[in-house]
Structure formats: structure tokens, C-alpha cells
Amino acid sequence: MRGAFVAAILTAFVCSGCGSWSWGRRSAGPAGLGASNRQDPALSGDGSVLASVVERGGRDTLLLQEQPSGRELPLRSLRRFQPHRSPSLSWNGRYVAVLIQQGNRRLAVIEDRANGKLLRFPLPGDQEVERLSLAPSGRRLALEVVHNGINRVEVFDLANQLEPDLPAGVRSGGGAPAATGR
């Protein structure tokens, strides 16, 4: 009991920044031709895909890269509708949620990379979406919405829109992941 208490104190001490844990670091690398700024990073649940927004042809454009190789992954529907912002990925990177511009409206969309389908989530005319976050399973979507000058986060159930994107070995019925991450 006393040993466990001492261990907990030591762990908290190390976590307080006084320890010598090493933090592996690397840059996400070059963002492609002509791109200098890279913003809005989002990792897939398993860390195998990195989404970010880079400038291409003067327009903020979603870039998907396999990790750690940096190989660019293709997008179908999302090659247009710039500027893109606030990307978010599901567990294996099957679903890419992002805000796009369509005319004078900003719109939340999800591309299913397995089949190229694009799901659009239009909001009422007096609301504007600012940011989004997709749950790794793809079961829920959180939108930051501005209405009458007030920012508010709202969560939506995607159970009827998307089939779950789960870690390998996990059935859609539920249960804990067989292995989390790498």
C-alpha cells in the first residue's frame, strides 16, 4: 500500500516536468510544391494518417499524408470547394470531415475515402459553422456553430449516416479495442 503511494507520488513528480522523459519530435515534413504554411493538423485515431491544410495555388487545401512515410493520399470530392479548414479523421482515416466553402456558405462535409461519397451537413441559413471534430469511430460529429454572435458546440449522431470505422479486430457491436494505436 505504502509502495503504491510512493510510486504514485514519484509518477506525479516525473509528470510535473522535473523528470527526464524524452519526447521524440519530428517535423511533419514538406507539404508539397509551393506550400510554405501548414496548419490545422489532425491525426487519424491510429496515427497512420495526418491531415493538414496547406496553401496550393493560393488556396487553403486539405492535404492527407500517410505516416510516417509522408506519402500523399488521394482525395476525390475534396479536391475542390476550397478554402478547406478544420479537418478531422476517423480511426483508420477512412472518413475525412472538413469545412468547405460553397458559394458564400461554409459547410461541414465528410468524404468516405472507401468509395468517394461526400456527405454534406447543411445548417440553417442563420447559422455558420466555425470548427468541427469527428469521433474516431465516425459515430458522432461535433460542430462549433455561431448563431446570433454566440459560439456553441453541438454534437450530432451519425449512426444512420456512416458505418463505424473501428480499430482492427473490433466489431461494430462495441467492445474495447484489441490494440490501441501503434
Partner: protein, 166 residues
């Protein structure tokens, strides 16, 4: 004659709509989670959402005083975050892992912008230095909480760093 023209118009309209229907491009609005959204409304204004299946982290508050709020979506209740929020800090961005154990937070404190990692079970906060020096802004945490992607400004250029979390 009029009927034939109307049928031809209908066929042409269907032909135009068919690709949209097939590609799934029509707008559909998912069901809002009413009870949860009412709970979120009670926080006041809220922004910068980060979802990780069971957990939702947001920055929210009333009267200009904002803090990080972590909501357990199964219980639809905020959980305590002792030692994370402080009155003189302004949180700017937050990310959470799928266990709800690790939160990464970018905050402004004493005129500096810093990235910290909070471990809920330990109630411990650890600063994460930017190397080379830079100003962090947006963040993303891998589902197991062991890797961070950080948007960093260095010399007027926005870059993305990937940081392995021990």
C-alpha cells in the same frame, strides 16, 4: 403535346439528379443529440470541440471566463479536471484521447502561449516545450494519447510538429 413535353422535362431532370443521388452528394442533417446539447448550452458559450468517442472536450464558459470542460458522453456530464484550469489562464485549443485520460491544451498564461499535457488520473500537468522555439496553436492527439500533432508558428511560418508522448 403538353404531356409529352412535361414527361421529357421530368426525364431530363431525373438524368441531372441521378449522379448526385448515386454519389451521395445530397445534404442530410444527422440527428442532434438533444440532451447532450442542452447540457452543453448550460456551460454558456463553447468552442474548439475535440471528440474522442466517449469524451468531448470543449473550451467554454460565461462572462468571458473560459475553461476546459471534459464531458463524459455516456453519462452526459462534465467530469472534474483538478489542477488543469486556473483563473489567470486562457485556454485556446484542446485535444483528448479515447480513454479521457490525457488532454493536450494550448493556453495563454502570463503573456505566453504554451502547450501542456494533463493526465487526469494523476491530476498532473506537464509543459511541452516547442523545439525549436515557436508558438503553438492548434493540436491533435492520437487516439491512444501517445502522439501529438501541433501547429506551431516559427518566424512567421506555420509548421506542424509531431511529438511522441512518453
Amino acid at each position: 403535346m403538353a404531356i409529352t413535353a412535361a414527361i421529357a422535362l421530368l426525364v431530363r431532370s431525373l438524368a441531372l439528379l441521378a449522379p448526385l443521388l448515386v454519389s451521395g452528394c445530397l445534404g442530410t442533417m444527422p440527428a442532434p443529440m438533444g440532451g447532450l446539447n442542452r447540457r452543453l448550452e448550460a456551460i454558456g458559450s463553447s468552442h474548439a470541440p475535440a471528440l474522442s468517442d466517449r469524451w468531448l472536450a470543449v473550451i467554454g464558459g460565461r462572462g468571458g471566463r473560459e475553461q476546459v470542460v471534459l464531458v463524459d458522453l455516456e453519462r452526459q456530464m462534465p467530469v472534474p479536471l483538478p489542477g488543469l484550469n486556473r483563473p489567470d489562464a486562457q485556454p485556446l485549443a484542446v485535444a483528448v484521447d479515447t480513454s479521457g485520460e490525457r488532454l493536450a491544451v494550448v493556453r495563454q498564461l502570463e503573456g505566453r502561449t504554451e502547450l501542456v499535457l494533463y493526465r487526469r488520473g494523476l491530476m498532473a500537468l506537464q509543459p511541452v516545450a516547442m523545439e525549436p522555439a515557436g508558438v503553438p496553436r492548434r493540436i491533435s492527439l492520437r487516439a491512444d494519447g501517445r502522439e501529438l500533432a501541433v501547429e506551431v508558428s516559427r518566424g512567421g511560418v506555420w509548421q506542424v510538429d509531431l511529438i511522441q508522448v512518453p
